[in-house]
Symmetry: C2
């Protein structure tokens, strides 16, 4: 991350025909992307949204409002273009890449689907580790492979999304573990459980934390014991994006759990992350705060899939266009205000 280039971009923005700082988050995004890419005037990027799919053994505990079969059903929906993320990625002009990193069913060959299955879903974290250490690392590596391929293909901005019935349970476990252990405060309704099932979900996560007792200083251990294959895959995308100086948008609660893992593996990674929306899931705000990221879309969404990142892409493009297209005070002959 080049903070000198970030500063040069901000100086350029300060000479444009508007009161200093008055474009707020747009200015922040533009200057951060300048720092990430090393370009004072970053080019409009090719956008790729990576959607990691994986299943969760913990659904055996009855923590979700939807049955596990919905994960492969939704993957097929992504492949035929009818899911919310398809609509929003098309609207954003982003390529959508769907990755099977751990769906508990066999899936057909399809040009949009990357088949990188590490396992047929995780094990039940309420009884023991969700993954072996080797599985967690293999899923991270799958994410790195996908991201590096996309970067070779010209991608200059990533969105990160996921599909996996049960994955708010895994994300709550990771977030609660890193944010002081309060499961109740971090736990939300996911796809829409009722009050009784919400209380049950909290007990299941508390059990998973007690049974597994992850090592706080070993993010792979936390990920393996509490995480999901798609969460590991998203962390891999984030690590590869940062290593290649490509900005990466964080989506909702599950994406932020992956960002926590990536940031624990390498704290510099957050310099390459941009938040998008603030999810309805209560743990999301806590995770973003720990990451030092501020969301700018308040859409009351809780869908995942990367939908928040797709909505944020036009904002990122707007920020970059401001840098390229606005006139300066001198060019436009506009009087400057008092300093």
């Amino acid at each position: 991350f080049d903070s000198e280039v970030q500063k040069q971009c901000q100086e350029h923005i300060d000479n444009l025909t508007k009161p200093p700082g008055s474009l707020g988050v747009l200015e922040h995004i533009a200057a951060k992307i300048a720092g990430i890419t090393g370009e004072v005037k970053p080019v409009l990027p090719k956008k790729t949204c990576v959607l990691m799919a994986g299943d969760h053994g913990v659904v055996a505990e009855g923590v979700s409002a939807f049955p596990q079969e919905v994960t492969p059903q939704m993957v097929l929906n992504f492949l035929s273009g009818g899911a919310a993320m398809n609509v929003l990625a098309r609207h954003a002009g982003a390529e959508l890449v769907v990755v099977d990193v751990g769906v508990a069913a066999d899936l057909p060959d399809h040009p949009v689907l990357r088949k990188m299955k590490v396992a047929y879903g995780t094990a039940n974290m309420a009884k023991g580790p969700a993954m072996t250490r080797q599985q967690a690392i293999a899923a991270i590596e799958a994410g790195i492979t996908v991201a590096e391929g996309a970067i070779t293909g010209g991608t200059g901005l990533f969105g990160t999304g996921e599909m996996g019935i049960g994955n708010t349970t895994a994300s709550t476990a990771i977030t609660a573990f890193y944010c002081g252990g309060n499961v109740k405060a971090a736990c939300g309704r996911g796809t829409g459980v009722d009050d009784e099932r919400l209380r049950h979900k909290i007990r299941v996560i508390e059990t998973a934390l007690e049974v597994n007792r992850p090592e706080p200083d070993d993010a792979i251990d936390v990920l393996a014991k509490l995480g999901g294959l798609e969460i590991a895959g998203m962390a891999g995308v984030m690590l590869a994006a940062a290593a290649n100086r490509v900005p990466v948008l964080v989506d909702g609660f599950i994406s932020s759990a992956a960002a926590l893992i990536a940031a624990k593996l390498n704290p510099d990674v957050t310099d390459y992350m941009l938040a998008s929306h603030l999810s309805e899931e209560p743990g999301h705000a806590a995770a973003l705060q720990l990451l030092g990221l501020k969301p700018f879309l308040q859409m009351n969404m809780r869908l995942g899939e990367g939908t928040g990142t797709a909505l944020a892409i036009p904002m990122v493009e707007a920020a970059i266009k401001i840098v390229h297209e606005m006139a300066s005070f001198a060019d436009a002959g506009v009087s400057k205000g008092e300093e």
Copy 2:
């Protein structure tokens, strides 16, 4: 406003492949536009952003960080395409119409500029009414004329923006008047005044309220005494949009002051309004709350010009595309969750 069609649109959305309500604000926007237009599946609209420009006599009191000459200078910048709003309107695919409804200088002929000057700026509201009643009505009518012309030309979505040095002072007076009279709570730094000038600005507005004592039940009286020609013009756009069942986006603080006037003239108008961003100006949240509108962009912006509405346009389009393009549970063969 057709609440039955709104309900039918929401029922359609509830059958799409996602947990009920999980697209939050996007669902709300789509259903509201259905109710506004009477179409269960509203068509993607042609977008027009109307930028009203006018000057303020109260700048003689020294309430702004920029001199009054910046208003016509910025109008020229809009005409040559170099301002933030030009960049963001182009990005949103929206036509930008600039209206001189009260700039205190003569402006050149230009295809983008509508010359509808009612006066060379308002009078100083710290000494007496900013406008005559006739001027306020003429400026509202100018907005109605511009909006109706745009609707005839196919516009199906309006953004509302403005330029006018001193207009946060007028907007603070209107907002404070309607929100209980606390000028200090509603008053912000506008284009960027320092602490001393902020205290002075508050005193000037308090003086204007004492000198003018508007009639609370007569919105034209409030507008004439405390408002601005561009604020009246924006209120006219909002009234005409509502009368023609066209949704209209509210921008920042000045736009919300115009929306307060429009809503006092006809409370039904808010059914046709959509909020966009939450401005840094402290009075904006209070005005939006009074209007019953919830902003969904938190960009920390305070530029005006309609910039928040331009950024909101891709969100509105995304909401409409969701209605048209997403698969239903039945179509996609995805299992429904528990009810």
